[in-house]
């Protein structure tokens, strides 16, 4: 029943994203309109995949570091991606894909640094060290980025921050093809880790006694979730809040077992982002709101209701 509800919500959100928009497209033209075919459909699907990735990555990382406040961007990736993007603009790297590629490279470097920090002194991805390492790497990248933006004279750099706030305006069938190639492996790795993640929720020692290869699972989950986040940030910038709040929505809907929680987080994340983006495009048309603002505006009330239910348990 809950699954039916989740899927219906997702389909409704996708339908709304395709039918609604700042430009008026009559329903009869829906199939033939280039606005729908080239812009709305890819954008809705990109929202589904990016929102789903962030939800899935958030749920996995929250279980990995056993902290309900964990967010895919808490592990330094947004800082790395931002620094990459700003460098690409400052160095005038040409080509239509320069900024997404540079952001992806920056996110991967930050991912590698935090991963390495997480292994220092045999720490084996100790959650505390991962979180602190992520915050430190993110802050460092942020500082370098701000220094470049304030010292360089290129007027384009003043707009670099806009890119960082995130959005789905870069959606096209090409973007979708790239992301569709990148997603399956990390998604499968995370889904395959559902059972060990259940054990890990009991604590590392008990999980080890119950037969989980804790070391390998942690590494796999960390790398796959971070890779998903890096792909998302490269195509859509830093869209806040989805990765933090969606896993909690998922837990409230289907419980804490990862075999159900992970797919539910993917569906809920996709639904929330597609819905938020539709609102962002239409509410103040012809202007557009940054989608990160709308995810928070839609997400926080839901979250507040959830918190009330939790405290009632």
């Amino acid at each position: 029943m809950k699954w039916l509800w989740l899927c219906t919500a997702l389909l409704a959100a996708l339908a709304a994203a395709i039918v609604l928009g700042p430009a008026s497209v009559p329903l009869s033209d829906l199939v033939h309109s280039p606005i729908v075919r080239e812009l709305r459909v890819p954008r809705a699907l990109l929202g589904l995949l990016v929102g789903g990735s962030l939800g899935l990555a958030g749920a996995s990382l929250q279980s990995l570091v056993r902290n309900p406040l964990a967010d895919p961007f808490l592990l330094g990736l947004s800082g790395g991606a931002g620094l990459g993007a700003v460098l690409a603009i400052a160095l005038h790297l040409g080509g239509p894909w320069a900024i997404p590629l540079a952001a992806f490279a920056g996110a991967l470097i930050a991912l590698g640094l935090v991963f390495r920090l997480g292994l220092v002194g045999g720490a084996e991805l100790d959650p505390r060290i991962l979180l602190l390492g992520g915050v430190a790497v993110g802050a460092f990248c942020g500082a370098v980025m701000t220094a470049i933006v304030s010292l360089a004279e290129a007027s384009e750099l003043r707009n670099a921050y806009l890119w960082l706030w995130g959005g789905l305006s870069g959606a096209s069938w090409d973007t979708l093809r790239v992301i569709a190639l990148c997603l399956p492996i990390p998604v499968l790795v995370l889904l395959a880790a559902a059972r060990p993640l259940d054990l890990l929720a009991l604590g590392e020692e008990p999980a080890r006694h119950l037969g989980a290869d804790v070391r390998a699972v942690k590494r796999r989950v960390y790398l796959a979730a971070s890779f998903l986040t890096a792909v998302s940030v490269a195509v859509a910038g830093v869209i806040g809040f989805v990765g933090l709040i969606v896993p909690h929505l998922g837990r409230a809907l289907v419980g804490g077992r990862h075999l159900r929680l992970l797919p539910a987080s993917f569906l809920a994340g996709g639904t929330l982002l597609v819905l938020a983006d539709t609102l962002a495009r239409t509410v103040v048309a012809p202007r557009e709101l940054p989608v990160g603002i709308v995810t928070a505006l839609v997400g926080v009330p839901l979250f507040a209701v959830l918190l009330r239910r939790w405290t009632a348990y």
Binding site: N159, D174, L289
Partner: protein
């Protein structure tokens, strides 16, 4: 590199010329205190015409040079580009987050700021240190005429300010040409940011016979959806940029932008930033450049203006 060397060479010669001009002008300065009101609605009293002026906006610097007060400018922002002579003046910071210390070190008797939330605080700080400030805001053509006259009075270059003011007034008095084509200014591609009404660029385009398809947006710039640009279907995409050359911007090769007809057809108006990047007294020259760029290829008038 070559372009830069050329610039500084010209700058030196222009500075020499302007120095002479200002020397002559200094004699006509009226002595005695001045009472001025600025765009922040403040009454500012000066002991006399300012002789050491720090300008905290590129457009203010340009206007000061245009009215013949260039020789009195002792500080500018790092973003200043025009006139070349202005680059000889020491820079005191980025203008929007002014470094009060660097400004005071130039011993100004007047600091000119572009009105914004950031600069209001700096203006108050400077006033407390005993440095008089004028806060101005010139976004459209009529504002430029008004500001030119205000700066003229503040620097004792009344006739220079009046000349610039009058040239803008006569431009404004001309009837608007009929709309022959429609354009959208794209400032940034992802998310798409366009120029709305209430901007210098919107006015320039209209006076060159091109209607801005985002004239209904009242703020100077705004984020819009790509599909809005597709739906409004401008004949041209206008881009203001620092670099020379006639290659279209890199983002025009991104697949989602191909949905815009003007992008597919390569109809870009590449506007040089030193002429179009800021509101300036060279509006007539900018309009002439605009008309020339529009005439490079036949204009299409597929749609009636809104």
């Amino acid at each position: 590199m070559g372009r830069w060397a050329h610039r500084t060479h010209v700058a030196g010669r222009l500075a020499a010329l302007l120095g002479v001009a200002c020397h002559g002008a200094a004699r006509q300065q009226a002595a005695g205190p001045l009472a001025l009101s600025d765009d922040a609605g403040r009454q500012v009293r000066l002991a006399g015409p300012a002789r050491r002026v720090v300008s905290l906006a590129p457009s203010i610097t340009e206007l000061l040079f245009a009215i013949g007060a260039g020789g009195q400018v002792v500080g500018r922002t790092v973003y200043d580009q025009y006139p070349p002579a202005a680059l000889q003046v020491p820079a005191v910071g980025d203008g929007l987050n002014p470094s009060v210390e660097a400004i005071v070190a130039r011993h100004p008797d007047l600091v000119l700021l572009y009105r914004s939330a950031h600069t209001d605080a700096a203006a108050q700080q400077l006033e407390r240190l005993g440095v008089p400030t004028l806060v101005v805001r010139h976004d459209g053509l009529a504002d430029i005429a008004r500001t030119a006259r205000l700066l003229g009075r503040a620097t004792g270059q009344d006739s220079g300010g009046e000349t610039v003011g009058r040239s803008i007034d006569s431009l404004l008095a001309q009837p608007l040409p009929p709309v022959r084509t429609r354009l959208a200014y794209v400032v940034w591609d992802s998310p798409p940011i366009v120029i709305g009404a209430g901007s210098f660029l919107d006015e320039l385009a209209r006076r060159a016979g091109a209607a801005n398809v985002f004239h209904d947006i009242t703020t100077p710039s705004a984020t819009v959806s790509l599909e809005t640009i597709v739906a409004r279907d401008p004949d041209w995409i206008a881009v203001v940029r620092d670099s020379a050359g006639d290659t279209p911007p890199a983002w025009s090769r991104r697949p989602e932008w191909r949905a815009v007809r003007a992008v597919r057809d390569g109809r870009f108006l590449l506007l040089p930033a030193d002429l179009f990047g800021q509101p300036s007294a060279r509006a007539s020259a900018a309009i002439a450049t605009f008309l020339e760029l529009l005439s490079h290829r036949p204009l299409t008038t597929g749609h009636q203006p809104p």
